[in-house]
């Protein structure tokens, strides 16, 4: 007799669910342990939902609880009567990590909540999304609620020096690997259907690292693999802190690239059979770039590239092919002048990283972190190449990079499936 699984929904949450019953829409708002910061967001979202999705049963779910014992911004299932123009009660629930602090538990609670409430559409947003025009939530939810899409990825208007990890790595590589042109598969803002939710939690996904850490990309790939309709929707301008160096970029690469490699691992039967890429339906403009001069310390980036490649020589030797490693070292050692990081080399190096991840040549987390100096070199070169560029030329460069990823995909498959060398 197998041991009974431990209950993972707190009793208080269960009481809330009993009260809420069934809903049409759920908007999950990540509090990032700062209830006060999201108070305004919740109010905005609620007002907007009441105006836009007039007849729908709506639950707002705050995720992560609150900080320092401050009053929770999201009250527990408190019916609201102050919206005289609204037809229905709007529910507010809290999924906290007070009892189960692990991220995996929180995600599991959220998804189980959405499933138990039989939600037809779920949107996940981050507090910073409140900067966007109010229509953004319509763009995110309507494709699911009204047009039968099962997954909606966001699109943003960005400054040209923002979202570079997506532009130079995540988007082109994800596009080439999985065969669909979804630009922002690693964003905190996304939406999905009840059908996709049901299909997702049908698997025992709670132990999967990719699901726990980057649920949005896990679900996107799940939808793509099962042929469910996917689209992307333009939300407007979203500002991010500019962090081309420091711990933030390390964390971003560990999470996002680590997730991508993990997804490649779990969905290898799917992506190895695709070639090229196809567009998905886009609601609104596909991309908007703001080109304004920015001051970037390129020398510092190059120095970190140089130092990192040198310091990690032993690790990179285990990950990269000798040819690629040599070319990277040569690039990092170049003294002065303009750094050009060829797309062909960048793509080849990334594919070798992915294959090394697959073969677990070293600890996978360390492996992904070893990519950081290369990435710094790549974006240093990006700034070098695009300092006077127009939005169109930047986009053209990105498209060219995407095509290079697609062109080299057979190499990825070859490396991925190669028999590991037995150490002599």
């Amino acid at each position: 007799m197998s041991p009974r699984e431990e209950a993972f929904l707190p009793d208080e949450l269960l009481r809330q669910l009993m009260s809420v019953g069934e809903v049409d829409l759920i908007v999950g708002i990540r509090a990032h342990h700062d209830g006060a910061a999201i108070e305004q967001v919740i109010q905005q979202v609620e007002n907007f939902c009441l105006r836009t999705f007039v007849r729908d049963r709506i639950a707002l779910i705050g995720i992560d609880g609150h900080r320092n014992g401050a009053s929770p911004a999201i009250e527990e299932a408190s019916p609201l009567y102050r919206h005289s123009g609204a037809l229905r009660t709007v529910h507010r629930l809290t999924i906290g990590s007070k009892i189960h602090p692990a991220d995996g538990t929180t995600v599991r609670q959220l998804f189980s909540t959405a499933d138990l409430l039989r939600a037809k559409a779920v949107a996940m947003i981050s507090p910073s999304t409140a900067q966007l025009p109010q229509e953004w939530l319509t763009n995110l939810l309507s494709p699911v609620r009204r047009d039968n899409f099962d997954y909606v990825a966001p699109l943003y208007r960005r400054h040209w020096n923002q979202g570079l990890l997506i532009r130079t790595l995540l988007y082109p590589m994800t596009r080439a690997v999985f065969g669909f042109r979804i630009r922002e598969m690693y964003s905190e803002d996304f939406a999905f259907s009840g059908s996709l939710l049901a299909r997702s939690i049908d698997h025992d996904v709670w132990q999967e690292e990719a699901f726990r850490s980057r649920t949005e990309s896990w679900m996107a790939v799940q939808a793509l693999e099962t042929g469910m309709p996917v689209c992307q929707a333009f939300l407007g301008q979203k500002d991010y802190p500019v962090s081309a160096s420091g711990a933030a970029i390390v964390d971003a690469i560990r999470q996002a690239v680590g997730t991508l490699f993990s997804l490649m691992e779990t969905h290898q039967n799917f992506w190895q059979t695709t070639s090229g890429s196809v567009p998905v339906r886009t609601i609104g403009p596909e991309h908007e770039l703001i080109v304004e001069p920015v001051r970037v310390n390129r020398s510092r980036l190059f120095e970190m590239f140089h130092v990192g490649v040198s310091e990690l020589e032993g690790v990179l030797r285990l990950i990269l092919s000798p040819e690629t490693h040599a070319e990277i070292r040569a690039l990092a050692a170049a003294d002065g002048g303009k750094l050009v990081f060829p797309s062909e080399l960048w793509v080849r190096a990334l594919y070798e990283f992915a294959a090394a991840y697959h073969r677990s040549v070293i600890d996978r987390d360390h492996l992904v972190q070893a990519l950081v100096p290369l990435y710094r070199g790549k974006i240093g070169a990006f700034f070098e190449e695009n300092s006077d560029a127009t939005p169109d030329s930047i986009e053209a460069g990105s498209e060219s990079l995407c095509l290079e990823f697609e062109r080299q995909k057979p190499y990825l498959i070859e490396r991925w499936n190669a028999t590991p060398e037995v150490p002599s």
Binding site: R15, M18, S19, G21, E76, S78, P79, L87, T89
Partner: protein, 560 residues
């Protein structure tokens, strides 16, 4: 707290009845049309002798007041609201003696009688209007509102905008325009003329002297017109009502005035004055919200409107209803709510008329007995005097293919026999066709068969009314909403002089669990009022109840 107890403490048991003259507060009103209730002389039209014959049925049901739709001589172009003689009986319905006999029989059964007082307008066939249009010098000329142009009172809304294009109609006889807020064949009386007020007072005296107990005053907000206003709810209208009320109080006792003012509660509240205008007024906005709450499975609409409802003076009482002879009016809802109601209750556009839905209760509820019972349970337990529209107690259907609102005005279904027991005339001769479809047809839905079944809707309604009438807490008690987190459950307490009733309604189509915070009543034992069964004593912990789909409970809370 929404309302305060409206009567002084009564000694002894809280539900003990003391006659304070406010009989209307404790009444159970049954609304009917003489024409369609029972025909005694086989001419196909209901009449007073027929109605008198059916009084035992109403008495047995628990009815304590009858509200009669217009029974006066009329061209019947608006179901009798176009009166051509205010002090006579339409010959098709009988004679004045028949009416007197009906009144006496009703009094024997302790049933009060409320009649219509259509004050705002007459029929264009009324002798007053005939005189007024025939000569500009006639004294009756100024009994109506005339104009040489149709531009006066510009901007005033047209109530029947689907059939009228202006509030002015051209009179080819006197070659001038006359004012009408409703149909053009219903000219408005001119209440700025003291002679009109006097004439209407004489009409009221006529009926009061015969023994009627009250009037439903039709279309009250529109009595007076003033340039630059909406010509609704004007201060002068209130003065007219105060004057009538004063005259009634001076000459009679125990008479009641009921206002038909389809307005927001704050506007209707003004018609109670300081207790010196109306005794009762319909709560129009509550009615559609009960239907809305049921479909939304959300108590929000009901709580919102009752929280916006002002308190009434001591003598005042709301009159509440589910359906009546008119359309389910959606004037007092927002555009969003109206669209929702149309989509949910009247997808077929034939069902819609004048910003409303022309359907009876049972078809609106898809003939779902549980929903019909729940709505009646709400009606009987909410603050106010409930009105039952004839036939709804047996779940009668409607005929949306008849014109205007006539689909909800078909003959009462007494039996499965000839013409549903309504008339011995030939079917072709009936004043309106019977409902005969397989679901609501009189062959299956009728009084006779339901009387024989203890499980019928009629038997259940009788039981419901009996329980309601067992206490004054429903008719006079204060209302206090509970706010359990489950929004599909509407729970409230009715309290009067130490007596407490807990009402819990499941608005949803699925079973629900609800936890009620009843700590304030710790130690009380809930006793279910229909079966008189005891429930667990209330303690410190939330009181857990489970309810089946559309189920409701009435508990008397007793300290035993």
């Amino acid at each position: 707290m929404i309302t305060r107890p409206q009567s002084p403490p009564v000694s002894g048991h809280a539900s003990a009845k003391k006659d304070d003259g406010a009989w209307y507060k404790d009444a159970l009103i049954y609304q009917l049309h003489v024409r369609t209730f029972c025909d005694s002389n086989a001419d196909g039209v209901g009449d007073f002798p027929g109605l008198t014959k059916r009084l035992d049925y109403l008495s047995d049901l628990g009815v304590s007041a009858i509200w009669l739709l217009p029974f006066f001589p009329s061209p019947l172009r608006d179901d009798g609201y176009d009166i051509s003689d205010y002090t006579a009986i339409n010959p098709k319905y009988g004679t004045l003696d028949d009416f007197k006999a009906f009144l006496a029989a009703a009094r024997e059964r302790k049933i009060r009688v409320i009649i219509e007082m259509v004050m705002n307008h007459t029929s264009d066939q009324h002798p007053w209007f005939q005189e007024a249009r025939n000569s500009r010098e006639n004294p009756k000329r100024d009994w109506y509102v005339w104009s040489t142009t149709d531009t006066r009172y510009a901007g005033v809304r047209i109530i029947f905008s689907e059939v009228e294009i202006s509030n002015w109609a051209w009179d080819p006889v006197s070659k001038s325009y006359y004012w009408h807020r409703f149909f053009s064949h219903q000219p408005d009386l001119n209440y700025d003329n003291p002679a009109v007020r006097e004439a209407m007072w004489q009409v009221m005296q006529f009926w009061l002297d015969l023994g009627v107990d009250g009037f439903r005053l039709d279309a009250v907000p529109y009595l007076v017109e003033r340039e630059g206003t909406a010509c609704e709810n004007l201060p002068e209208t209130h003065e007219i009502i105060k004057d009538l009320r004063k005259r009634i109080d001076a000459a009679y006792s125990g008479k009641m005035l009921l206002a038909e003012a389809n307005q927001w509660p704050a506007d209707v509240r003004k018609y109670f004055g300081d207790g010196d205008e109306f005794h009762m007024a319909f709560h129009f906005p509550l009615m559609p919200r009960m239907f809305m709450a049921l479909r939304l499975e959300d108590r929000k609409p009901i709580i919102e409107i009752l929280e916006q409802t002002p308190e009434l003076p001591e003598i005042g009482q709301w009159c509440i209803f589910l359906r009546n002879h008119d359309e389910l009016t959606l004037e007092m809802v927002t555009d969003i709510e109206r669209d929702y109601m149309y989509d949910e209750y009247a997808m077929d556009k034939t069902m819609r008329i004048y910003s409303g839905i022309r359907r009876r209760l049972a078809p609106l509820m898809d003939n779902d007995r549980r929903k019909i019972e729940l709505l009646n349970g709400l009606l009987m337990s909410m603050p106010g005097t409930p009105v039952i529209y004839y036939g709804d107690e047996i779940g009668m259907g409607d005929n949306i293919y008849l014109g205007d609102r006539n689909g909800v005005r078909t003959p009462m279904q007494w039996s499965h026999g000839w013409n549903a027991g309504f008339s011995a005339a030939d079917p072709e001769q009936l004043c309106a066709p019977l409902i005969s479809n397989p679901i609501y047809g009189y062959q299956g839905v009728n009084v006779e068969s339901q009387r024989r079944s203890p499980a019928s809707l009629l038997s259940w309604m009788r039981s419901l009314i009996r329980v309601r009438n067992s206490t004054r807490v429903f008719s006079r008690g204060a209302l206090k909403f509970l706010h359990p987190s489950n929004h599909r459950v509407l729970a409230y307490l009715r309290e009067l002089d130490g007596e407490r009733v807990l009402v819990v309604n499941n608005l949803s189509s699925s079973a629900q669990a609800v936890e009620l915070d009843l700590r304030k009543y710790k130690g009380d034992v809930p006793i279910e009022m229909f079966g008189r069964n005891l429930f667990p004593r209330i303690g410190e912990l939330p009181y857990l109840l489970t309810l089946g789909p559309y189920q409701f409970f009435w508990f008397r809370l007793r300290r035993i």
